[in-house]
């Protein structure tokens, strides 16, 4: 029984007539506790897919179901970590997370809420920064707050929309390790969207490529059978990793190739042939260069 079920979903943008189809016939099922990564080109419609799952957008056709219930709008049962963090800049780290906790668990006692918030701040190692505002934090720290906020809502499913794409490579690696650890501790169902195949393979149980748009759709799943915990250094030399990466990137490039128009290049070469200097020039000072073809003809005549 699938936990998250996306069936024949299509989504277009723009006015009638001149609209462009972003997603076409998207089908995806995610099991409970599974970590699925959707990998695709930027601009292919990854964020659109995410907004459909989170309920911020409604599909033109098809259905989305979470835990057998139709997704009809946004709700706190789906914790979203947005690409650009989306923290409220006038609230501190604590207050940003508390707003979510207060909203999701209105019946808890104040002490329990505070405790819950503190626990999630500690989980992403931000306790020293708990009273800081987002503007005082680095990009990596902001994204950690965003992850903590989403997890503190205790959602049925965690949606990560290119959570690390705005970060530098080193911070990115650190946060990937942290995400991996947090996921293993919580065993939440996760759908992550990324444009980095390596990131997908390192973190996910299963990778679903999104073909290049317009009219993007999901390709066949690639199961990542590398056992956890995965070692960042060792994984690069793992033959399974290499093979998976090769197949995944191959599929993505191929999906894009179909949308390219073939260009046949016609080469126009200069009509010049070398002179044969070894042949004696005819007397009388004929300046006309002797071409090889002419020479041949000459020889035939001889």
């Amino acid at each position: 029984m699938a936990y998250l079920e996306i069936k024949n979903v299509s989504k277009s943008f723009g006015a009638n007539g001149a609209c462009s189809e972003v997603l076409k016939d998207v089908n995806l099922t995610v099991e409970k506790g599974e970590f699925v990564a959707v990998v695709g080109y930027s601009g292919a419609g990854k964020t659109t897919l995410m907004n459909l799952i989170s309920g911020l957008l409604r599909p033109d056709t098809g259905t989305l179901k979470l835990n057998d219930l139709d997704i009809t709008g946004p709700g706190p049962d789906r914790g979203v970590v947005f690409q650009n963090y989306s923290l409220l800049p006038w609230l501190t780290v604590f207050e940003n997370i508390f707003l979510a906790v207060d909203q999701c668990f209105p019946n808890w006692a104040a002490a329990k809420k505070n405790d819950h918030v503190e626990r999630h701040i500690a989980m992403v190692n931000l306790t020293p920064a708990r009273t800081k505002r987002p503007a005082e934090l680095s990009g990596g720290m902001r994204q950690r707050v965003s992850v903590a906020r989403a997890l503190a809502m205790d959602p049925q499913i965690l949606l990560l929309d290119e959570p690390l794409s705005a970060l530098d490579a080193l911070t990115r690696a650190t946060l990937q390790d942290e995400l991996s650890r947090i996921w293993q501790e919580n065993q939440k169902t996760v759908v992550m969207i990324t444009n980095d195949p390596d990131e997908g393979i390192y973190l996910a149980d299963r990778i679903v490529p999104l073909t290049a748009g317009p009219g993007a759709t999901l390709g066949p799943s690639f199961t990542v059978d590398i056992p956890r915990p995965r070692d960042r250094k060792a994984i690069n030399h793992d033959p399974r990793f290499k093979e998976l990466r090769r197949r995944l990137i191959g599929f993505l490039i191929e999906s894009r190739g179909g949308h390219h128009t073939a260009i046949t290049k016609r080469l126009v070469l200069p009509d010049i042939e070398p002179e044969d200097l070894s042949r004696p020039r005819p007397l009388g000072g004929a300046r006309k260069p002797i071409r090889r073809s002419e020479i041949k003809e000459e020889e035939v005549e001889v």
Partner: protein, 264 residues
């Protein structure tokens, strides 16, 4: 060395030089082509009792300059508060609802440029039945209706330019309407609102003088008009300087508050 010293104190020296320039022009004018204009020295001598005893009360229209200022400030505060109470919600509705905006934006654009001098008679007519209070209510009405427009328009712009991200957060968390308003919409709009508040305060202070002049209420503007009628021109200049200084201080105070909210 000398240059760096001069640079260090130019914040004081240059403005003083500017003031001296204007005083010189004023002196020359009063000595040559504008004989009726009191000279700076005469102005000072005549104004001195109002400045050294700023809170004295010798009669209804003969009081220390700060006492007059105080009356004016109280009236401005009331009218300004009314303007903010009316203007902020109107701004929010304009920013949130396209229909509301389409319905009322044209009439707002028409009413906005109307001068306080034009509103005041209408204000007095409106509150004719109030008897003794008529002049105060009329003045309040005029201050409120003239000074609320910057608040209305800035709040509307602020609401319209709230980043979609913040609204998405509110949607994903399923915040209730009132929680969305207080936790997301208002904090996100505050910097714009305060710019509006500052501009509104400037206008409210402009309007007070006109309102007092026409209604004859005690205050800086009323005093100015009375002294003009009494041919004591020195006091007109005293009033002008007071109005200018108070306006300047109010603007500075508001921009301090505004900056506090901008950095958040």
């Amino acid at each position: 060395m000398r240059n760096t010293f001069l640079k260090k104190i130019d914040w004081l020296v240059l403005p003083l030089a500017g003031v001296l320039c204007v005083i010189a022009l004023w002196s020359i004018s009063s000595g040559t082509w504008a004989k009726e204009l009191p000279s700076p020295l005469k102005t000072w001598q005549s104004s001195k009792p109002y400045i050294v005893e700023p809170f004295a009360k010798r009669g209804e229209m003969d009081q220390g300059i700060l006492r007059f200022t105080w009356y004016s400030l109280i009236l401005v505060a009331k009218g300004y508060a009314l303007a903010l109470l009316l203007g902020t919600p109107i701004g929010f509705f304009l920013g949130l609802s396209k229909t509301f905006s389409k319905t009322f934006d044209p009439i707002i654009q028409v009413l906005r440029p109307v001068s306080p001098l034009a509103w005041l008679p209408l204000g007095l007519v409106l509150f004719l039945g109030a008897g003794k209070q008529a002049s105060e209510l009329g003045a309040l009405f005029t201050i409120a209706i003239c000074s609320m427009w910057p608040t209305v328009l800035n709040t509307a712009v602020g609401v319209r330019s709230i980043p979609q991200d913040y609204l998405n957060v509110a949607k994903v968390l399923k915040l209730s309407r009132s929680k969305t308003l207080f936790k997301v919409l208002i904090p996100a709009t505050l910097p714009y609102m305060f710019t509006g508040f500052r501009l509104s305060l400037g206008i409210a202070w402009l309007v007070i003088v006109a309102a007092e002049m026409l209604t004859g209420r005690p205050g800086v503007g009323g005093f100015l008009w009375q002294e003009y009628n009494a041919l004591i021109y020195e006091h007109i200049i005293l009033c002008i300087l007071t109005i200018g200084l108070v306006g300047f201080v109010l603007d500075r105070l508001m921009s301090l508050v505004e900056r506090r909210f901008k950095t958040v």
